[in-house]
Symmetry: C2
Subunit: 208 residues, 2 copies
């Protein structure tokens, strides 16, 4: 029972790691079982929807962690410029540290799932969750809602693009040039003083 | 003989269309044969390296067309700002027109091929070719070489990122916010007067 009860999160963790490295289709259920050391029967016991459901859960977990990382980062900085910097730098460091192997868990579902509504919806919900998390923090730093939303969206797109080109070129340079234009934008859009909404409240869980 | 001689480009064209829509692994050789109406024996006759070689050729063809599109666009505009606008707008229009199905042929090779050197090298060469094509034109519009390179790189990354998020969100908004920050950057980096290098010369073919 104990073993069974942690098989599910372990399998999601394994799927998440494999998808971000090699994509969705190349992630075999047998690889997920091997990496998570889960018993063979676990897949359809925990994920009746099979690989699709596992991928959807992996994207959800990835987005939740990204949103939490953004929240924590926001607590340690004083402006939208600093938050954009933390967000981009984090993605850059993870990629370089993994020798350009660890990309995003969401992007492959979108690029490989154009005709699979479940994957596409998971990708949309996951990106929306991250964008909303960033937009909330930018607004807290004094930006108006539309600007905050725009900056959040372009920051997420910018990191996604840098992940693709940096992995191809095996160079962190795309992150650096993207960071430069994102901070430029943040500086011009944003007030650097936090708005007066009291303590730094955390964003609500949004499940699109 | 006539039939055999156009099987190769038709198969490359089919592979290119399928990869940009559904990714690398989900593109089966049987689908390529069906879409290109090529005889079954054609794959290993024209592509002894099999699917990997076909994908490499597809990425090369895609990059070549992108570079040509950039050259043509540059002939019709007068500044780096206008060229960035044309480049981003073209990608946006293609995606929306295809109902969010047609992404980039290169990105899936990178995201699915992290441990496949042939795919990764093809991705790197293809992105480099597009970046060099853009950088050449930006320099022609009066930008210094380092700035031109940076703007080209961030434009390519920006379009890649917008393709990922726009496909997920099924909205062109990510292109619009990315275009805004790219043209901002271009305007601040670039002189709008062409430099004096005579006629608008075309970029040399570069095969990295």
């Amino acid at each position: 029972m104990g073993q069974r009860s942690d098989a599910r999160p372990k399998m999601i963790k394994a799927a998440r790691a494999l998808i971000r490295e090699r994509g969705y289709h190349a992630t075999a259920l047998s690889d997920v079982l091997e990496l998570s050391a889960a018993p063979r029967g676990s897949v359809y016991f925990h994920f009746p929807g099979g690989k699709t459901q596992l991928a959807v859960e992996a994207a959800k977990a990835y987005a939740r962690d990204q949103a939490e990382m953004i929240e924590r980062a926001a607590e340690g900085v004083n402006s939208a410029v600093e938050l954009v910097t933390a967000y981009v730098t984090r993605a850059r460091e993870n990629l370089v540290k993994s020798n350009y192997l660890e990309g995003c868990t969401i992007a492959p579902l979108v690029l490989e799932g154009a005709r699979e509504p479940d994957l596409l919806n998971a990708g949309s919900a996951a990106f929306s969750h991250i964008i909303e998390g960033l937009a909330f923090q930018f607004a807290f730093f004094g930006m108006d809602r539309a600007d905050a939303r725009e900056l959040a969206e372009v920051s997420v797109s910018g990191v996604q693009g840098a992940l693709v080109t940096a992995r191809a070129l095996r160079s962190p340079a795309p992150f650096d040039s993207m960071l430069a234009i994102l901070t430029d934008r943040a500086a011009r859009l944003g007030a650097s003083e936090p708005s007066e909404v009291g303590d730094h409240i955390t964003t609500e869980e949004t499940h699109a």
